[in-house]
């Protein structure tokens, strides 16, 4: 078995186990840490597919920025491990059944499909995922969406500020009168 297959199976098992840990662990902080491990496993998959730019961006943006944001919010809220009420067993069973049913239905649909290719991924070679090529494509063909995403970020930033600030104004108003 070649090395990249061993790495594929190892990273896949790590991703799925850590994803199960996210939804099964009682403590939200542990869930965040499991999710960070899942993102690292997915970044490992990107590296295996030679998509190095996306691997680095995944680590920096998801595991670095977004998860730290989650961690800060959880620590601000003082959520204890066992304080969270659980859904009833019936609802949990129904959730697992419906998720598993979706999994099985899509697998059954994909079992007969012809993917119309040789069916092999080029794992180690190819320069598609390198930053040089992606930068050429991003700034030649996708300049407008790139610039529009800055507007999106500005709107999200202003929105987060407005939502976060609203409460303090309402608290201040009664104290004024």
């Amino acid at each position: 078995m070649p090395l990249h297959e061993i790495l594929f199976y190892f990273l896949s098992a790590m991703a799925i186990c850590c994803a199960l840990g996210v939804i099964l662990s009682r403590n939200p902080v542990k869930s965040v840490l499991f999710l960070i491990a899942t993102f690292f496993a997915i970044s490992g998959h990107y590296i295996l597919m030679n998509a190095q730019f996306l691997a680095v961006v995944n680590v920096i943006v998801y595991a670095g920025a977004i998860m730290v944001l989650f961690l800060f919010v959880i620590m601000l809220m003082n959520l204890n491990a066992d304080a969270e009420p659980q859904k009833s067993r019936v609802v949990q069973l129904a959730a697992v059944l419906s998720g598993g049913a979706l999994f099985l239905v899509i697998i059954a649909a994909l079992r007969t499909v012809d993917l119309n290719t040789s069916g092999n991924l080029v794992t180690g070679d190819g320069e598609i995922g390198l930053i040089h090529h992606l930068g050429q494509v991003l700034f030649k063909e996708y300049v407008l969406p790139f610039e529009l995403s800055s507007v999106l970020f500005l709107a999200a930033m202003v929105g987060a500020m407005v939502i976060g600030k609203k409460e303090t104004q309402q608290i201040q108003e009664p104290s004024v009168k």
Partner: protein, 99 residues
């Protein structure tokens, strides 16, 4: 690796995310499950991009990450505001938009 393995892997991650959305009551964990589903889709997109030798899907993954970052900022602001108001992140309490 054959593309089917990547299909099964990202499908499993997506199904786990759906289970998390359906079975947890903590709003933050529901949010994290949504992130998990987004990442499953990203992984499949990169796999197909490598299979077809086309970089457009990887640009699309980049934009999905951008939108996810904006979504997380606004969503966590909403959750923090809700927590200040009702002192809970239980989604069964948050089903009333007023009070």
């Amino acid at each position: 690796m054959p593309i089917k393995y990547y299909l099964f892997l990202s499908l499993a991650l997506f199904a786990i995310g759906i289970m998390g959305v359906l079975m947890r009551r903590n709003a933050i964990i529901v949010f994290m499950s949504i992130e998990l589903m987004l990442n499953a889709v990203n992984l499949l997109m990169v796999a197909f991009s490598k299979m077809f030798g086309n970089a457009d899907a990887q640009i699309f993954v980049f934009f999905i990450m951008v939108v996810a970052a904006a979504e997380v900022a606004v969503g966590l602001a909403i959750i923090v505001m809700m927590y200040r108001k009702v002192h809970s992140v239980d989604i069964n309490i948050l089903n009333r938009l007023k009070h």
